[in-house]
């Protein structure tokens, strides 16, 4: 009869494999347990040092190569800008009129035009290595006051647009799940018509969003380019942060609701810096359309 030692010697590789697989299974079972999350946070924190190092090297190469291309474009850009300046001079007058009109309308709606949040600005240093997830890593973490589920925004094209939420925090880094991720659902509403719905990422290559649960009766009041903002119905996101603009409205025969596809106000492919909302001050802070 073979002894215990000889059995372990003979099947050592199999036993080790089974042991690791068993531990992986346990880790997956307890994925929300603080112990497992602690290990994951510790691991991502220690790897962040290398990530940051290689990221800065990559950034240097990117900047150097980019600057050569930029030089070539500068001349053309300069010419275009000069012609744009002339156009803007004409627009200035029109803008003053619109500002006055906007101030009046804002007063009527009793809304604050400036969102007031305590934020922490962070740079995007890395992205998810998988083909199936869109999360990214920022260079601020627990020591900067970042916590799980904090909303992340960015200013682009004159809007404070919703970028996503923090899903994991390390000591000096954090992972953010963008709104374009299919696992992300945001309670939202039309800025103009005030119809509510739920916005979800669809995970396609164009990074579009889909808005569901908007009744078909709203179809007449929805226009191409209408702005969608967070409704504040869930406690996670402050009210009034811009999400996207209507790109396509698709009524479905067998459903009472519309399916609306949105183009995010944030261009995720150009996103370099974000702001994590640490605290929201009083005031609704709705975005201007």
């Amino acid at each position: 009869m073979p002894s215990k030692e000889s059995f372990l010697k003979k099947y050592r590789r199999g036993v080790i494999t089974f042991g690791i697989l068993f531990l992986s299974f346990i880790a997956l079972l307890g994925q929300n347990a603080s112990f497992v999350q602690g290990i994951e946070q510790g691991g991502s924190t220690s790897l962040f040092v290398f990530q940051n190092f290689f990221g800065s090297i990559g950034g240097w190469f990117q900047d150097t190569l980019g600057s050569i291309e930029q030089l070539q474009n500068l001349q053309e850009e300069n010419r275009q800008l000069q012609s744009q300046v002339q156009d803007y001079q004409g627009l200035e007058q029109r803008m003053l009129e619109l500002q006055q009109e906007n101030a009046l309308l804002t007063q009527q709606l009793d809304l604050s035009t400036n969102p007031s949040y305590a934020t922490e600005t962070a740079a995007i240093v890395a992205k998810d290595p998988s083909n199936y997830y869109q999360t990214f890593t920022i260079n601020k973490g627990y020591s900067d006051g970042i916590r799980v589920n904090m909303p992340v925004v960015a200013a682009q094209g004159g809007y404070y647009g919703l970028v996503g939420k923090v899903i994991q925090v390390g000591l000096g880094s954090a992972q953010v799940r963008p709104v374009t991720d299919p696992q992300h659902i945001v309670a939202s509403r039309f800025f103009k018509s005030r119809y509510e719905g739920l916005v979800q990422g669809i995970g396609d290559v164009n990074l579009r969003l889909r808005m569901d649960y908007v009744p078909k009766s709203a179809q007449d009041q929805i226009r191409f380019g209408d702005l969608i903002i967070t409704s504040g119905m869930s406690s996670l996101y402050p009210k009034g942060i811009a999400l996207g603009r209507v790109e396509e409205v698709r009524p479905i025969d067998y459903e009472p609701n519309l399916r609306i596809f949105l183009k995010p106000v944030i261009d995720f492919k150009k996103l370099e810096y974000v702001a994590v909302i640490l605290e929201e001050f009083t005031g609704t802070g709705e975005a201007d359309d």
Binding site: R13, G14, I16, T17, I20, L21, L23, S24, F25, I26, A27, L28, L29, Q31, V36, I39, E40, G43, S44, L47, F50, Q51, F54, G55, G58, V125, A126, K127, D128, P129, S130, N131, Y132, Y133, T135, T137, I167, Q168, Q175, R177, P182, Q183, G203, K269
Partner: protein, 171 residues
Amino acid sequence: MILFWLTAAFTILFEILGTIWGQVIAETIGALPNFPLVILFVYAIRRGADHSIWLGLMGGLTFDFLSSIPLGFTVFPRVLLGYLSGVGKGKIYLDPILMPIVFGFALSLANGLINSILGSLFGISPGFSIFTRSVFWLESLYNAILTPVFLFLMDNAIKAWIRPYEQRERI
């Protein structure tokens, strides 16, 4: 042992670089090849399961730490595939091109299948819908093409540096 540590270093390096340039590569060619998985297979088929299990563990842990997916989700398929590939050392015939392509593709399918089963069990997307996505098939294709390339590199590295180094160490 030197080959193990070198391969482990390359695996971790590829995982980290994937977080920095991965999306740029994916946008350019449609999908990011799974370099660490291919390296794991190539190592396992040449050096056996003794170390490939640990290589799978190291690569899997690194990926799980860097990615948003729960701990263990990548470790599981990597360790299992590292073991199975290692067990096949010396038992399967590998020509320079065709069989590595076949095995590289089969490995990607097996990896996708294990991920789908785990995803469905633990509610981690995309689950079985992974097979409906073109990115998965493109990734598998790239893995298949890369397998003979990495096998060639590994064989030449063993012949040129590793074997002489190991012989010197023995003396």
